[in-house]
């Protein structure tokens, strides 16, 4: 990472830490939502940005994670155990789901995951004995960590932020490892990766399963955050939203999901003035952005940065030539 990049990340991290001290409860709720959605979007970015597969099931995995925690914690299971269980469960389901889909054609994962999302929704809605159907589950307790109770909005935000930091560090570390480099090789040139002896299908499946487990972990935080979960929250809409977040932020950029989730959380608030037309504006903006910059906002920033650097370099060379003149 460049020095400018490091400085930008540090500034953003500091802003994320001090922000809740200046915000009203609703503002804290919004940034907590941002943190939770970012975790899910990081997971989807592994699938989409690195392995190049469209998954329309990330919202369903968030739902599975949320229900896992909401159902286990009242039984006396400690939160962090339930949290890990949500991640493991989603990893396993992701593996089982991705295995057949990735065996065949590259766009099939999109359809299989689309079907899966609908199936999960139907199960959550219909199996009332387990999930309480459309009435949902309320009051998932927020955990305590070494005596630190996270019942308050600000405390819970810091818990989520800590988890985000931990999980994004783990993802970053994974992407730096030889293993993660294989993911990047998949994205850059799948045929070459295959010819160099990478088992591309296995790595794609791994990226999808890990991405799904991050979706589950995000859901595990979502349930205690909103305190009320019901099947509709995890229908196709959420999956599409997460997908658009990754795209808007910049798929394949490590910080893309952070930016995309921020836009998705803040934009509806900023576009309050447009009343009900927010989604129309959002959809139009994405359709306009796609042909010009399919690599999202970070891709745009990178391009702008490069253009700036380019013009500066140009100036330097021209000065140089002037200086070298007679």
């Amino acid at each position: 990472m460049t020095r400018a990049g490091v400085i930008a990340v540090v500034i953003c991290a500091v802003a994320a830490i001090v922000a809740p001290f200046f915000l009203k409860p609703f503002g804290i709720f919004l940034i907590s939502t941002w943190v939770v959605l970012t975790i899910a979007a990081i997971g989807l970015n592994l699938t989409l940005g690195y392995a190049g597969q469209i998954s329309l099931a990330q919202g369903a995995f968030v739902g599975i994670g949320a229900y896992t925690v909401a159902l286990l914690t009242p039984l006396g299971v400690p939160f962090f155990v339930a949290f890990l269980a949500a991640g493991l469960l989603c990893f396993a389901i992701g593996w089982v789901l991705g295995y057949p889909a990735l065996r065949v054609q590259h766009h099939y994962l999109a359809f299989v995951t689309l079907a899966f999302t609908t199936l999960v929704f139907l199960v959550l809605r219909n199996e009332e004995w387990l999930t309480n159907g459309i009435y949902g589950i309320t009051g998932t307790a927020r955990p305590a960590l070494f005596g630190w109770k996270t019942g308050g909005a600000r405390d819970f935000y810091f818990l989520c932020l800590g988890m985000l930091a931990l999980l994004s560090f783990a993802t970053w570390w994974m992407l730096r490892s030889p293993w993660g480099r294989a993911f990047i090789a998949l994205r850059e040139n799948p045929i070459r990766a295959l010819s160099l002896g990478l088992d591309t299908r296995r790595y794609t499946l791994m990226a999808f399963a890990i991405g799904s487990s991050l979706g589950g972990l995000s859901g595990a935080l979502y349930a205690p955050l909103v305190q009320f979960i019901e099947p509709n929250s995890f229908a196709l809409g959420l999956s599409l939203n997460l997908l658009l977040m990754v795209i808007v932020g910049g798929s394949g950029y490590f910080f893309g999901p952070f930016v995309g989730a921020l836009v998705a959380v803040l934009l509806p608030e900023w576009l309050r003035v447009t009343h009900g037309y927010y989604l129309i504006v959002y959809a139009t903006a994405i359709m306009i952005m796609m042909p010009f910059c399919p690599s999202g906002l970070l891709g745009l920033a990178e391009r702008a940065g490069r253009a700036l650097a380019g013009s500066r370099a140009l100036k330097k060379t021209s000065m140089h030539t002037e200086g070298a003149g007679p």
Partner: protein, 291 residues
């Protein structure tokens, strides 16, 4: 038995509508590698064009023609020029994202600029029942079936018997070779978009009297079209027709005999089974992996 016949006929009618949508979907995929995630919304929208035309005083038959014409212009020509053309050079996935955004756009536009309430839509024939052995079959189902069959036959004639149709097929099967043989490939691709717009408009006019015109209609119809296309074979027009009919019949029968709560789940289970055991679809050819 009587109820079985009733379910079968209404299932065939629904299936015929799914088939029309799935055929358009398959055509776009074949000729331009466009996976249109807005296909369901494309079916939802023409009904609103018809209703809007009737609101300004057009009689139903004229409104229907206006609806089809608007659909050709907006869902065919404008869709191709504004959404698809600029995205083609980036490959399959970015275009998928654009069509997802488009589906959101169309759905919200129908909700905000027309109505969020389900709108009654005029039926093509007065709803009477025909008794037929013990079974009671509605004229509406029969008419839907008849129109869908006529459309499919007309489509087959167009694709197989006319010069343009054969050129379209050539484009779908091998664009590079078609170009060498002098087929105006770009124009043929353009025609498939127009054809898709006509098919979705017909489907819309057939389906809306049954489901009412509602902005959320596209969600279920779109998924049904994907599933029908995959069951039948993603690269076959015949396959899409077969897939649509199987899906419609199965949907009705399973809702009646197995579980109405999980009505939506059976098509999905079949989808997953097909992908597992016969990924090229029932009638499909195995496609080489394209990267």
């Amino acid at each position: 038995m009587a109820s079985f016949i009733q379910l079968l006929v209404s299932g065939l009618a629904t299936g015929a509508i799914y088939a029309l949508i799935a055929v358009g979907f398959t055509l776009l995929w074949q000729t331009s590698q466009t996976i249109n995630f807005a296909q369901g919304e494309f079916v939802m929208l023409p009904a609103f064009f018809v209703l809007a035309a009737m609101n300004v005083g057009a009689p139903f038959w004229l409104a229907t023609l206006i609806g089809i014409a608007l659909s050709i212009v907006i869902l065919g020509v404008l869709f191709k020029i504004i959404i698809v053309d600029p995205m083609l050079k980036y490959g399959v996935l970015p275009l998928v994202i654009s069509t997802i955004a488009l589906s959101l756009f169309l759905k919200e536009s129908a909700k905000d600029f027309y109505s969020s309430q389900a709108q009654p839509f005029p039926a093509l024939v007065p709803p009477t029942d025909i008794h037929f052995f013990d079974a009671v079959v509605s004229t509406q189902s029969l008419l839907v079936l008849a129109i869908a069959i006529i459309t499919v036959i007309a489509l087959n004639l167009l694709l197989n018997k006319t010069r343009v149709g054969r050129q379209m097929q050539a484009t779908a099967q091998n664009p590079a070779l078609a170009r060498i043989l002098g087929v105006p490939v770009q124009r043929m691709v353009f025609y498939t978009f127009l054809l898709n717009a006509v098919l979705v408009a017909i489907a819309s006019i057939l389906v809306s009297p049954i489901y009412l015109a509602k902005f959320t209609n596209g969600e279920t119809l779109g998924i049904a079209a994907f599933i029908a296309a995959i069951i039948g074979g993603f690269n076959q027009v015949r396959g899409a027709i077969l897939g649509g009919v199987i899906l419609g019949v199965l949907d009705n029968l399973s809702a009646a005999y197995i579980s109405s709560q999980y009505r939506g789940a059976f098509p999905l289970i079949i989808l997953i089974a097909v992908i597992l055991f016969r990924p090229q679809g029932l009638l499909g050819r195995i496609e080489e992996r394209t990267v």
